[in-house]
Every structure is written in C-alpha cells, then in structure tokens.
Symmetry: C2
Subunit: 362 residues, 2 copies
Amino acid sequence: MSADKKLRWGFMGCASIASKNYLAIKSSSHNEIVAVASRSLEKAKAWAAERKEASMRCYGSYEELLADADVDAIYMPLPTTMHLEWAVKAADAKKHILIEKPVALNCGEYRKIIDACIRNGVFIMDGTMFSHHKRLDKMVEFLKTKEIGELKRFESGFSFMADESWLTTNIRTSASLDPLGALGDLSHYQIRFTLHAFEGEMPTHVAVFCHKKSPDGVPIDCSVTLFYKENSKVATFNCSFVTGFRQWVEVAGTKGRLMVDDFVICKSSEECSFDVLVNPGLTDSHRKVIEDSKRTITVYGCNQEATMFDDFALLAFNRDAEKEKAWRTLTLKTQAVLDACMESVAKGGEGQKVEVVVPEFL
Amino acid sequence: MSADKKLRWGFMGCASIASKNYLAIKSSSHNEIVAVASRSLEKAKAWAAERKEASMRCYGSYEELLADADVDAIYMPLPTTMHLEWAVKAADAKKHILIEKPVALNCGEYRKIIDACIRNGVFIMDGTMFSHHKRLDKMVEFLKTKEIGELKRFESGFSFMADESWLTTNIRTSASLDPLGALGDLSHYQIRFTLHAFEGEMPTHVAVFCHKKSPDGVPIDCSVTLFYKENSKVATFNCSFVTGFRQWVEVAGTKGRLMVDDFVICKSSEECSFDVLVNPGLTDSHRKVIEDSKRTITVYGCNQEATMFDDFALLAFNRDAEKEKAWRTLTLKTQAVLDACMESVAKGGEGQKVEVVVPEFL
C-alpha cells in the first residue's frame, strides 16, 4: 500500500469513549475519520464541529452511515444490546468493524456477528486497546522466560467510583443497554489479561460473588474466581463501580511476581512500566526480606489506542486469515468466560461454580 | 517497676520461629530468656549452646519448664494441636503466655485456654507481631482520616513456595499437628489485618475456595472472601504454600487506596513504609491517569517482634484488665473467622458461604 493510504472510519455514535478514539485516530499513521453518525443529526454535527472537522460527513442515522461508500470501517461504541443488530448490518454493508467491549451479550450473539463478517469478507476486532501495547508484549515475553517460575496466581483490582446519578443513568448499569455491567465493562479486561499472561489457556470454571447490583439489576461490584485444569493456577479479581479508581494486576509464579499498576489505561503514552521481582524471600532468621532483584521494566512511546487503529488498518489493507482468526479467538475466549460469569450471577451470584464452554465456530 | 526489671521467659520448644523470637527478646528492653524446653534435653541444650547461653536452664520436658518458679512467662511455638493442653497447663502453673498463631484449633478450645488464664490470673497474647508495629498504628490512623473515603475492599496475597519435602514433612501441612494449614499460618495475619483496618468490624460470612490440600488433607492454597453487613465492604485474599513469596495488602476506599508490600515481615527494622493514593482518576479524555497524590509514609526504627515482647512485659508488670481483654478479643475474632473458613473448607472448599459466629465468653 502507499505510505499515505489511510483507512477511512465512520463512527457509529458519539459516546464519550468515541472522543478518546477520535484522538487515537488522529495520532495514528494509517487512519482517518471521515464520518460520524448519531441518532440525532444535530448531535453528530455538534460533535464534528467541536472537533473543527468541517469536512466530516454527519448523519442522523446509522443506516445512512452504512450507506456511505467512502467509509471503509466502522467504529462501534454502541450499548452492548445494540451490537448484534448493527454489527451484522455493518458487515452486510461490507464495512470492517472495530467493536467496543463487551462485543456481545453472549457467545451466541458473537457467533451471528462473526458469521456475518465471514459471509461478507470483512474483518472484526474488539476495542481492547492494551492488547496492542508493546508493554504487553514485554510482559508476555518476560513471563515466558519463566524467571518467576510456573505461573500460579493472577490477581487484579479494577474499579472506579461512580456517583449516584451515574449509577442510575449510565448505559453501563442499564439492563436494557449493558446488562453485563461491571463484568462487561471492567472484567472483560481482566479476563483478557489472563489470556495474554497464560498463553491463551482457558479456565475450566468460574465463580462470581456479586456484591452489588444497580437499581436496574446489573452487576456493579463483583469478586470473580477463574479455575484452571487440575488447579494448576487460579485467577481472582474484582470489578466495581463503587470503589475508588484502581487498575492493577499481579501475576505470581512459583519464583516471583510481576506487577503493573495501570494495566488498562497507562499512566502516560510517553512512558510506562511494570515491575518484576525474582526469587524474593526471607533471610534465614526471618528478620529481613530479600528482594534485591526488584526491577522496573520501562517502555517508551506507545499510544496504545493509536497502535490499535494502526494494527487494524494494516490488517484491513493486508488481509491475513490467520491473524484475523487469532483476534476473533481472543475475543471469543474472553466472551466465553464472561458468559460463564454472567451465568454464575444468574444462578445467584453467591459463588456458584459454572463451567466455561467455548463454542467452536471460528 | 524498676528500669532494669525484666520479664523472665521460658521457651516451650525450639521451633525455627523460636530462633527469631530469641533474637527479638535480646533486642527488647524488658525481657530475658532464662529457660528452654524441648521433648529432647539434648536438643534444648544444643539450642542454648548454639546461642552461647551458658546460664540458660535447659529441660527435656515441658512439665519441668512449667515447674521452674523463676520463669514468669512461656513462649509457646508448639503445633496447634498441642496448644490447648499446654496453654492450660502453663496457666495452671501461673505463667503468662505468648502463644503462636493460630492460637487454637477453634474458638471452643480458645475458650478453655482463656478460662484457665482467667482462673489463674495470668495474661495471654497471641504472637501476631505486626499488631505491635508502629507502622500499623500509622496505617490505621491514616484510614481513619477518611482521606481515601469509606473503605470498600481489602485485598491481600500472602504466600511462599514450599518444596515437596516441606509439604510432606512440615508441621504446617500435617492434619495431626496444624490442621488449619495455610489458613492458620498465613490467613491468620490477613484476617487480623482486616480487623485493624476496619476498626474491629467482623465479617458476617466467609467463603473459601480450597485449591489444593497437602497429602495429609490440610488446606495449603486457598482463596478467601469475607462478607460484611449489607455488603458495605468485601475482603478477598489468598494464602498459599505453593506460590512464590508475597506479603502484600491493599485497602481500597471510595476515594483512594493504601498499599503495603511487606505487611507481615517488614523489609527492615530500620525503615519501612506504606503507600497511599488519594483521589486517583483519569483526565477527561481518559488518556492520562491522575495520581499526583501518591505518597509514601515511612516509619523508622521499629523491631516489631521486640516491641511485641516489650508490650507483653509491660502488661505483665502493670496488669490492665481492659487492655488484656482487648488483646483477647482481637485473638478471638481472628479465630472466629478462621473457624468459619475451616467450616467452609470442610463443607467442600468450593465457595460454601458460612456464617461467622463469635462466641461470647470474654
């Protein structure tokens, strides 16, 4: 492709996350945003105007956006309950799709979306930005060295404190818009990180304690446990809309630990890091801790959102069946674990253990 | 009391933790060790000789140690199944008692020990050293300021990696010696920390996933959840003998977090610290993390084990019914949570939720 060829994006909605990804596209090398649609034409126009995008095409319906022949790909930050309908329509309109998480209400819906994408020969990827950060590659590479031994434990806290009005009005707490609540919004990332850390290994079972639901019955504060074959390892994490902002991960092995304090939204695109500790322990007298090995591994210059759009564009320009399937597989596995989590919540959210089933259709 | 009056200790056993607490007594101001007993006189003599304690009285039975009129207090690092018998005998011999954790197999046994202590007018305290560290006071003080808001989450990982021979031979994995396994050895500290952090508030229920047991059937790798009244908060933590060394705690509130990386055995007695983060969050565009407020609070010069022995000695010299009861209460509450954890394990260790009952007898 020519150096200045750019993938032409249409944004399906102006959710607040769209603002972030607008900036990401502007920071990327192979993308441009050419159109935006909202259910209100005025809103779409205001969004473009706010960004001084005089030439951006604005639509008052998603159908019009999909009819725009000069849009190559759709960015879809819609509420989860709208994903199936609009992703299928986008695929049928021959648009590639970057879809926000959770990708669907369940694997069954995701299958229908995938079927439409494959039928139409378009590419789909979910919007998990940290999967594209080179820091993640560094972390995975480090874990593979086995410097911290066999991996035994994944732990994570991911939360933010919503105010009362957010809890009653935001789409992420609405049963009719985002019924997966904090599991879909936050634990999606935690599950995804386990897949990266454990080289794709899936848990056999999950159990969720749901401590709080929104007035609308959506899980907003949960403790999740993932169980692995033969109890070789365990992942435990929590997601919450009613706890202060945290986004940490710990991966512990038989010989040490990896810690990252900003695993989803890194502290800065100029510089971010993670810590590792190899062979920590105690002196013989149990009076001092040995952790001379603690080191910080720093990564410079990576805007993960921009990288995500560039990774997407490069695949859209140079189609690669294997790589595309790898992304779909990662999404499907994440969704399959989420499905089991939601089933555990549906069974009472009192730690009910549910088997994880990955449907085979990719 | 005179400045140089010292409490005279007899060590009931030469377990490895006794070596650490021998050093603690040597570093303390108000204590001296005058006698040691083992079931083998040779072992007791060797232990004293190794420490060049020529005047230390050595006994080949615990009975002889208890008969020594010049011993004021007993340090008891015996296996848990021996606590009831020997703590009652020590109390009946009018000795004060510092007893290692877990203090008993259950609250019923602890009650019998307490009854004997009260009947004989002696003082008992458990060996949770970090409860005596001034860093803990600083942490509790910080949490009380509500700078990080209402407390919502306690998280902790506490583990070490035992080798195969340890797992089959150490007392802490033996059903007949320490049936509480990693729960008694490690989660005792995590439960205790919740009591300090939450101003004594008890969980109403607990649930344990037991991932691994020793060949002898003792829990050695668990995920624990503590539930509080009206789901106001949650504590989740894990204890493991099959994961690398970790000893961290996070307390998260509605407005921030407190983190400590060495909550049980501090990195150094010269200097140790904890981190706090107030009002962390994201910039409006969700592209940067705001955490300017991160600060480290450092505490200098505190040998927590020596402080524990000095706190003990001062109470032994200046009896104080209220303070003594406060220590007993802390022990009892910890044991009551442990009891519920063990019940959850006994029910299958598959997340069974068990009510926490604190017997009233103090």
